[in-house]
């Protein structure tokens, strides 16, 4: 199970390591010990929000400002739970950890891979979540420790995440066998990009959710 999860999360490793390192490196600009970058990645575990926080901390933002900014930038995660309500029925400890670790990438990998046996599924979910989490913490720690002395040029490696999302879009298309959700996404995505590119994901997901709620009844009637 570990090996299967490792194989599934390999693209995330190549995305999280350079991104985590960039975070660790930038975090050192705050003149703090290296382990604070590791702790932040261990307990917050939200890429975009952590990058934003560096700027906010440098500008001496209050904890309330940090709370609001983090909450808003991560609000898109609210939509991810919808696909796991029935699947995450474990006891509170593993369930709590799985919910804590539900990043864009973990969501992507797990919605594309769903073993039928509950016991197998539980361990796959846990390994995938824990491995992704460890890559992020490892990257941040390396970035903070090695700092600017690190010479390896990792420019472009973050493209693994784009490639991962593209591959999983295709896998979702093969599994769903209908173009409907993709047309919805394309339309909502373009509208959101035109209206407010900064909040593109949140706006587009809200629009898409609205369309799914409105059309759920119609689809049920036509499929039955």
């Amino acid at each position: 199970m570990f090996l299967e999860a490792f194989k599934l999360t390999l693209p995330v490793l190549f995305g999280y390591l350079p991104l985590g390192m960039a975070f660790g490196l930038l975090f050192q600009n705050l003149d703090v010990p290296w382990w604070l970058a590791s702790l932040t990645s261990l307990f917050v575990y939200a890429g975009a929000a952590q990058f934003l926080a560096i700027g906010l901390l440098a500008a001496q933002a209050t904890p309330i400002e940090l709370f609001v900014a983090t909450f808003l930038i991560n609000l898109r995660h609210i939509f991810f739970g919808f696909s796991f309500l029935k699947r995450y029925t474990f006891s509170w400890l593993p369930k709590g950890y799985l919910i804590f670790g539900l990043t864009d990438e973990t969501y992507s990998v797990l919605t594309a891979h769903h073993p039928k046996q509950p016991e197998k599924d539980k361990y796959l979910c846990l390994w995938v979540t824990a491995l992704n989490h460890s890559y992020w913490v490892l990257g941040s720690t390396l970035g903070a420790l090695l700092g600017s002395t690190f010479a390896l040029n990792t420019q472009g490696f973050e493209f693994t995440l784009v490639a991962l999302f593209a591959v999983l879009t295709l896998e979702q298309a093969y599994a769903l066998k209908e173009p409907f959700p993709f047309w919805v996404a394309l339309g909502c995505g373009c509208i959101a990009l035109l209206v407010a590119p900064q909040h593109m994901l949140l706006i587009a997901l809200t629009l898409a959710l609205g369309i799914f709620i409105l059309t759920a009844r119609y689809h049920k009637e036509t499929s039955s």
């Binding site: 693209p11 909450f71 472009g156 593209a166 879009t169 990009l193 799914f212």
Partner: protein
């Protein structure tokens, strides 16, 4: 600064966890509702395509090479995946293609030498 950072860390950890746990707290009673099942089935596909668009939204289409680095590499990923359907192969080769293009600036050099 250490104290400020630790407080910040705690505040951010709570805010992040809240966004992830809210649907589980608010909707646990309705997990068998047909509308929620419909959403749970269709949202991943829509979200995945939106994540591709989101991850590429910083692409600069107005200057050389007009987003070709990204378009070519995504093309390689999709082409390979439709052909071989091997995730690691598609992602690995697609990323290698992007890293090469962006680090060598090969297209930009060709473009400028032709102009």
């Amino acid at each position: 600064m250490i104290q400020t950072c630790v407080i910040a860390l705690g505040v951010m950890a709570v805010a992040t966890f809240l966004t992830r746990v809210l649907p589980f707290v608010a909707l646990s009673k309705f997990k068998h509702h047909p509308t929620l099942l419909f959403i749970g089935k269709n949202l991943p596909g829509a979200a995945m395509l939106l994540l591709v668009m989101y991850a590429l939204k910083g692409t600069e289409f107005n200057e050389v090479p007009y987003g070709l680095h990204e378009l070519l590499s995504v093309g390689v990923v999709i082409g390979l995946h439709v052909w071989q359907r091997n995730s690691l192969l598609s992602i690995g080769v697609g990323t290698a293609c992007y890293v090469y293009l962006i680090q060598s600036q090969w297209l930009v050099r060709i473009w400028t030498s032709c102009m």
